[in-house]
Amino acid sequence: MQKTIEAPVAAVAPVTQPPAPRPPLETPQLAVEALDFSFWYGQTRALDGISLRIPERKVTALIGPSGCGKSTFLRSINRMNDLIPGVRHDGDIRLRGDSVYAAGQDVVHLRKRVGMVFQKSNPFPKSIYDNVAYGARVNGIARGRRELDETVERSLRQAALWDEVKDRLDRSALGLSGGQQQRLCIARALAVQPQVLLMDEPASALDPIATQKIEELIYELKDEYTIVIVTHNMQQAARVSDLTAFFYMGDLVEVGRTDAMFTNPREERTEAYITGRFG
């Protein structure tokens, strides 16, 4: 069974005006679109015919019990699953119309367009500055001291970390707290100027206060970026996302506007999960 849903473009009207004028979008674009996508680890099927449309500049949450395939789906978007031997897929995933699995697609280039933040923060054992600058340097996005400085500052501000670290940019990133390290990883991902930001349970290893900071950050970032977040915490999904997709055992059971889904889910399984009868 397949479930698709049109992105509700006009439904969510901005409460405040955007801070500065920007050329209007011509047509509502889809950031990511999955077309009957299936995925296998060897003989085990992890995803079954997923068709999902993820709209731009919204937060889409992927929820579901452990092992339901949500992380697998997330990692398929930037083809991080390619690192695992013996995997195969069927169907397609498109990033703004371009197939991610196309024959001529350069994976490195793809990962520049799609940023990722992992469950457990993984800063490099380098300085804070070098961590944030790494992606920008390697991809040639910023060259020369001045550009790099600007990029680092901008990314750290976007990640709401600048004020806390601006005086110790050359100290090791490993000296930061867990929550700060995670925000550093977000800054690092943003420095590459991705079109889409994937977050795999970014706050699951953090304490409640740090979690709240991350959630506030996500809320602020969604004006600029498309965010897809995997979370096992339903309350978090309800707080943070515009759209929610419920996965169960490799199937996409239901997708919809978050407020609608949590108050009035259409599917029985969704309701069972949301009300905590399993999971």
């Binding site: 801070p19 500049r57 367009r113 600007e150 976007q158 100027q193 602020e220």
Partner: protein, 304 residues
Amino acid sequence: MSAPTLQPAGGPGMDAVRSAAPALGWRDRRRRTTSFVMLALTGVAAVLTVIPLLLILFHLLRAGLSSISANFFTHVPVPVGEAGGGIGNSLLGTVMLVVLAGTMGLPIAIGAGMYLAEAQGSRVANTVRFVTDVMNGIPSIVIGIFVWAWVVVTMGHFSAFAGGVALAIMLIPMVTRTTEEMVRLVPRELKEGGLALGFTRWRTALGIVLPAARSGILTGVLIALARIAGETAPLLFTAFGNPFWEWRLGQPVDALPVRIFYYAISPYEEWHRLAWAGSLLLIALVLAVSLAARFLIRSPYRGR
């Protein structure tokens, strides 16, 4: 939660990126090429390191195979010019020396290994472990001259016994460390189970822990014995070498590696051939022992 107030210069918004995103710039292409080339070079490194092995095996087989015969194993060296010489006495000597070294060194080594595994964190144990590691790195020839000064001078002459002592000194640090590591691998629950049943510490150690680590320890022992069987330097001034059959421990005795060395540096073609043959035999022995050791380590813990 407030709306974002910061508008970054040149904003990273999608619009800006969309208009700037090229297909694959020349810079990206160069990065891709660099990646491919460098990774290919590591493959070249791999090939280069395997080549010497293949070459050595090839030459051993080519130069040595022809000299291997029944005579080879049963005869002693004959003067140059005569036919039919062999390395029988060298083989015997090597066996004698390895048995001697094992008898002297293994009990100490296994005991020391168990000591290190049991006394893990103590300062003394850490010192012992450190010294053991350093001893693993002593040049074998230094051990040779030490044993010369200690045993050969005292006895007044070279002997198999002295050679055994020298090899034992090399054996001990090796087996100590491998034993320690194997005993450490035994799950703690096994040991605690024994103690909980009322066994004394030594009963638990000898009756439960040691048998559990048995195959791992044996593997380490075999590998170490194979290594000392191939050692030459410590024997040069202890066992010294002997072109005749010799069973007595108090007399100089021959050993396969020593014989190979003497033959290799000699000016005689015939002896060179024998050196190749002897080397082939030595490698075959070492290989056999390594394979046996590997095979041993497959079997334990399967039924757990």
